[in-house]
C-alpha cells in the first residue's frame, strides 16, 4: 500500500525550475530514499510533501490526503534541513513542549533514551554537539508517534561515527513500523539504508529502483579474483554462459562475466571441491550507477 504518492510534480521559483517532473510512490514500512546532487530539487520535493510549499503542477497524496491537510501534521513527523531550536532551551523542555503539540505523543523519556539523549536532558540546545542536535531533531520528528517520518539530509555535517550511529537509528525507526522518507546526497547512506531509491537530477527522476537494482541496471560486468586450491582448465569456466573471459595473474585467476557470474563460479568451484583463497569480488557501486544515469559523479 502506498502511503505517499507523487505524480508529475512541478515547482518553479520565479524563472528557476526547482522540480520539473517528479513521480514516485512510497510503500508502507519501507525506507525510501531520494538521492541526488545539491540543487536537484530533493528538498523542494519533500517540502511539498510535508505541506510547507504548494506545487505549481502535478499531485501529491500523503496517507490519502492532500499535503496541506491539518490532520497530516499529527501523522507525519518532519526533520528539516537546518532547523534549529532556541539556543537556551534544554533538551527536556524541547521534548516536553513538542510532545504537548500532539494528541497521542510517544513517551519522550523513552525516545530520549533510545536516541542516546538520556543524560543530556538538562543541556541547552546551544551546548549540544552537532550529532546530539541532529538526534534531538530526529526525536522531535518522532515525538508525535508518526506513521511517516520525513528526514532531510540528517547526516550532513556529522562525523563518520555519528553518521553510522544515525543509520542504526533510522533502521530502528523502520523496525517500529514507521515509513521513512529519507533525503540524502550521500551514496553510502542510500546504499546502506534504503529499500528503494528515487534518483533525482535537475528536477526530474532519472531512476527508481532498489540500490542493487540500480547497480544491476547500469552494469553488465562483474569481476572475481581468487587463488584456486587446485587448477582447472580455463574451458571449464568459459563453458559457463555467465563467464565472458578468464585471465591469469600469477597464481591468481580473474573471471569476468555478467550479473550472475559470482553465483555461477562459486557453484562450480564448490562442485569441484576447490577452495577459492583471497577471493575478491569487484562490483560496480551505486557511484558507478549514478555516473551512468546522470553522466557525472555525485559530489562528495
Amino acid at each position: 500500500m502506498a502511503v505517499i504518492e507523487v505524480s508529475n510534480l512541478q515547482k518553479r521559483y520565479g524563472e528557476t525550475v526547482a522540480v520539473r517532473d517528479v513521480s514516485f510512490a512510497v510503500e508502507a514500512g519501507e525506507i525510501f530514499g531520494i538521492l541526488g546532487p545539491n540543487g536537484a530539487g530533493k528538498t523542494t520535493t519533500v517540502e511539498i510533501i510535508a505541506g510547507l510549499r504548494t506545487p505549481d503542477g502535478g499531485s501529491v497524496e500523503v496517507l490519502g490526503r492532500e499535503p496541506h491537510n491539518p490532520e497530516l501534521r499529527k501523522l507525519v513527523g518532519v526533520q528539516l534541513q537546518e532547523s534549529q531550536l532556541a539556543e537556551k532551551m534544554t533538551v527536556r523542555e524541547a521534548l516536553e513542549l513538542y510532545s504537548a503539540f500532539y494528541p497521542q505523543p510517544a513517551d519522550w523519556r523513552a525516545l530520549a533514551a533510545d536516541l542516546g539523549l538520556g543524560d543530556k536532558l538538562k543541556t541547552r540546545f546551544g551546548k549540544l554537539s552537532g550529532g546530539q542536535k541532529q538526534r534531538l531533531s530526529i526525536a522531535l520528528a518522532l515525538i508525535g508517534d508518526p506513521r511517516i517520518a520525513i528526514l532531510d539530509e540528517l547526516t550532513t555535517g556529522l562525523d563518520p561515527q555519528a553518521r553510522r550511529d544515525t543509520w542504526d537509528l533510522i533502521e530502528s525507526i523502520r523496525d517500529r513500523g514507521v515509513t521513512v522518507l529519507l533525503v540524502t546526497h550521500f551514496m553510502e547512506e542510500a546504499e546502506r539504508l534504503c529499500d528503494r531509491l528515487a534518483v533525482i537530477d535537475a528536477g526530474a527522476v532519472v531512476a527508481l529502483d532498489t540500490p542493487a537494482g540500480l547497480v544491476a541496471e547500469v552494469t553488465t560486468e562483474q569481476r572475481l579474483r581468487f587463488r584456486p586450491s587446485r587448477t582447472l582448465p580455463d574451458e571449464v569456466f568459459t563453458a559457463l554462459p555467465e563467464v565472458h573471459e578468464v585471465r591469469h595473474h600469477g597464481s591468481q585467476l580473474e573471471v569476468i562475466g555478467d550479473g550472475n557470474v559470482v553465483h555461477a563460479v562459486t557453484a562450480l568451484l564448490a562442485a569441484n571441491q576447490i577452495i577459492a583463497a583471497e577471493l575478491r569480488v569487484e562490483q560496480a557501486s551505486l557511484d558507478d550507477a549514478f555516473v551512468k544515469l546522470t553522466g557525472r559523479p555525485l559530489e562528495k
Binding site: A50, L52, P70, R73, K74, V78, S83, L85, K88, L140
Partner: protein, 250 residues
C-alpha cells in the same frame, strides 16, 4: 478548545522561561526602569514641586516616562530580535510541520512580553508611590487604556520590524536604531513637558511620544487627548496590518 488554551499556555511559559535566561534583556526590561526611578527620586530637587512643570515634581513626570521605556525596551529590543531569530533558525518552519501553528508562537511571545510589561510597570508605579510619594494614576481606567494602546502601537512597530528583518541581528539593529529617537520623543532625556513646542508637536506623531503623552495625561487625572489616542490607533492600524501582511514564516 481547552487543548488549544493549554498548548498556548505551555508556549507562553516556555517563552517566559527563555526570556528569563537572557540577563541583559531581563535587566533592561524588568529592572532598569525601576532603577531609573530610584536614581531620579534620590535627587532632592527632583522631589520638589516645580512651577515650570505646572506644580508637578520631576519624579512625577518620570514615572510615565519609565512606563513608556518598559514598552519600548520590550517591543523594539526584545520582540523583533526573538521573532527574527526564530525565523532565521527555522524554529517557525519546524513548528509549521507540527499540529501547533507558528502564529501560536508569535502570540505566545507577545503575551509573554505583555506579562513582563505589566510586572515591570507595576514595579515602577509601586516604587514611585511608596518610595517617592508619586500618586498612582488618578484615573486608573484611562491609564490602562493609555497603557494598552501605547503597547499595541509600539508592538505593532516591533512586529513590523520582525516581519521585514532578514536576521535576528538585523532586527536588533533596526530596533535599537528606532529605540533612541523614540525614547527621545517620549522624554527620557528631556521630559516632553519642557521640550520646545516644535519638538513636542513632532513627538506627538511618534508612537512613544504620543504614548507617553497619553500615559502622562492619564497619570495626572485626565482622559488622554484625542490626538494622542488617534496617533496610537493609526500606528496599530498601519504597522499592525503591514506586519500581518508582510510577515514571512521562513
Amino acid at each position: 478548545m481547552r487543548k488549544t488554551v493549554h498548548l498556548f499556555a505551555k508556549l507562553t511559559v516556555s517563552e517566559l522561561r527563555l526570556f528569563l535566561r537572557e540577563p541583559v534583556q531581563v535587566f533592561f526590561a524588568l529592572a532598569f526602569p525601576s532603577i531609573l526611578i530610584i536614581i531620579l527620586g534620590s535627587i532632592p530637587s527632583f522631589r520638589e514641586s516645580t512651577p515650570d512643570l505646572g506644580g508637578l515634581r520631576v519624579i512625577d513626570i518620570y514615572v510615565p516616562i519609565a512606563v513608556a521605556l518598559v514598552l519600548a525596551m520590550l517591543a523594539l529590543q526584545v520582540t523583533p530580535l526573538v521573532l527574527a531569530t526564530y525565523r532565521e533558525r527555522g524554529v517557525l518552519r519546524r513548528l509549521a510541520t507540527t499540529p501547533a501553528r507558528p502564529v501560536a508562537l508569535l502570540g505566545a511571545q507577545l503575551v509573554m512580553n505583555l506579562i513582563t510589561a505589566v510586572v515591570s510597570c507595576a514595579l515602577v508605579l509601586l516604587i514611585g508611590r511608596f518610595a517617592f510619594d508619586v500618586h498612582l494614576p488618578q484615573s486608573f481606567g484611562s491609564f490602562v487604556v493609555a497603557f494598552l494602546l501605547c503597547a499595541a502601537a509600539v508592538f505593532s512597530l516591533g512586529l513590523f520590524i520582525a516581519a521585514l528583518a532578514p536576521s535576528g541581528k538585523a532586527a536588533n539593529s533596526i530596533g535599537t536604531f528606532l529605540f533612541f529617537p523614540s525614547m527621545f520623543f517620549a522624554g527620557l532625556w528631556t521630559p516632553r513637558e519642557v521640550m520646545p513646542k516644535i519638538l513636542q508637536r513632532i513627538g506627538d506623531f511618534t508612537p512613544l511620544g504620543a504614548g507617553e503623552r497619553a500615559l502622562h495625561e492619564a497619570a495626572t487625572g485626565h482622559w488622554p487627548s484625542l490626538i494622542a489616542l488617534g496617533v496610537l490607533v493609526a500606528y496599530v492600524l498601519v504597522f499592525g496590518t503591514a506586519a500581518a501582511r508582510l510577515f514571512k514564516w521562513e
